[in-house]
Point group: C3
Chain length 137, copies 3
């Protein structure tokens, strides 16, 4: 069984958006017991990751750390045509990754209690982001 | 072919545990030639990764670097209810990731000679960690 | 449907090599509509990642940042038998990861316009690197 969906997520500039419900909404419920949900983002200046979904301070603290890992407007950057956040966004995207994958069974994602699937927008301006979700079972 | 298993690993606080043998032990050996082993951890303060399995100094040096990437008890953190290692653990988990996947064929994981699959416990105290292994072939 | 291929890539020391065409060349075109291409590298001192394929300055800037994330010859390292780049290479590999996976459909990888699949050689000397590509559909 393979099912593939396209999702479009509107971001409002830098920050993390919980997309767990959007993924769960397209999860196949018929004729398959178990498998993997593969979520892929078709961009190089935003990313996907799984992190804590209970305390919003976690997302703020991750932002604090990402700013250290890949500072905006670092004088060493040569790729800066689109602004101070341009190269930083590519570096953050490499660190957190372009895809996540989550097992499912009996119509439910097998996430842990405190796990959420997040789209990390790394650009400071709003974007429309395209995601391909592939279910293999 | 889809096979799914739950594994429980007892950690003894911060450190890396080689779980390659546990994954290999549940690898399907009948009626499938090739596929992917997907290993997913259902927590946000520990992670999975693949690294060198020969010299234990590699794991010590990775710990040294992870302490720099996400310092314990950083004064900038707002999420610190569970102690100095709380937010650091979430940040390390985002960096190293929640899942790894490894190809297999003819009943063997196709890891390189020096590759091991590791559970990285990022909390300083011992935990019981749950892993979902899904074989797709 | 499962198809598995071995690819060998010759690197010329530290740097990123675009392997998108090599992956696309072995993509199955018959009897499968959609699925996932899983790309795995069988080494612990190089890695795989997806990043911007248009401006070579992005790759140079990523190298600048990786040098900060995992400095060569750091005095804290204990694993240094093979030189100053030895431990740094393992750390970079853990950060960027050992595999990437990309959805495909109707004979084409569903990469975004600006996405390329890269092998990151983290050692300073040339190596022959082995990749296992598994298509699940």
């Amino acid at each position: 069984m393979v099912k593939q969906h396209r999702l479009f997520i509107a971001t409002r500039g830098r920050g993390a958006i919980d997309i767990t419900a959007e993924i769960a909404a397209v999860l196949p419920t018929v004729a398959v017991d178990a498998g993997i949900a593969h979520i892929f983002i078709r961009h190089t200046s935003c990313g996907l990751g799984i992190t804590e979904n209970a305390d919003p301070a976690v997302l703020r603290d991750l932002e604090t750390l990402m700013k250290r890992w890949a500072p905006d407007g670092d004088p060493a950057y040569r790729h800066d045509q689109e602004g101070d956040d341009d190269m930083a966004a590519h570096a953050r995207a490499l660190l957190t990754g372009t895809s996540v994958s989550v097992p499912f069974a009996q119509g439910r994602l097998l996430l842990g209690t405190w796990q959420g699937i997040y789209l990390f927008e790394h650009r400071t301006s709003a974007h429309r982001r395209e995601i391909v979700v592939t279910f293999l079972g």
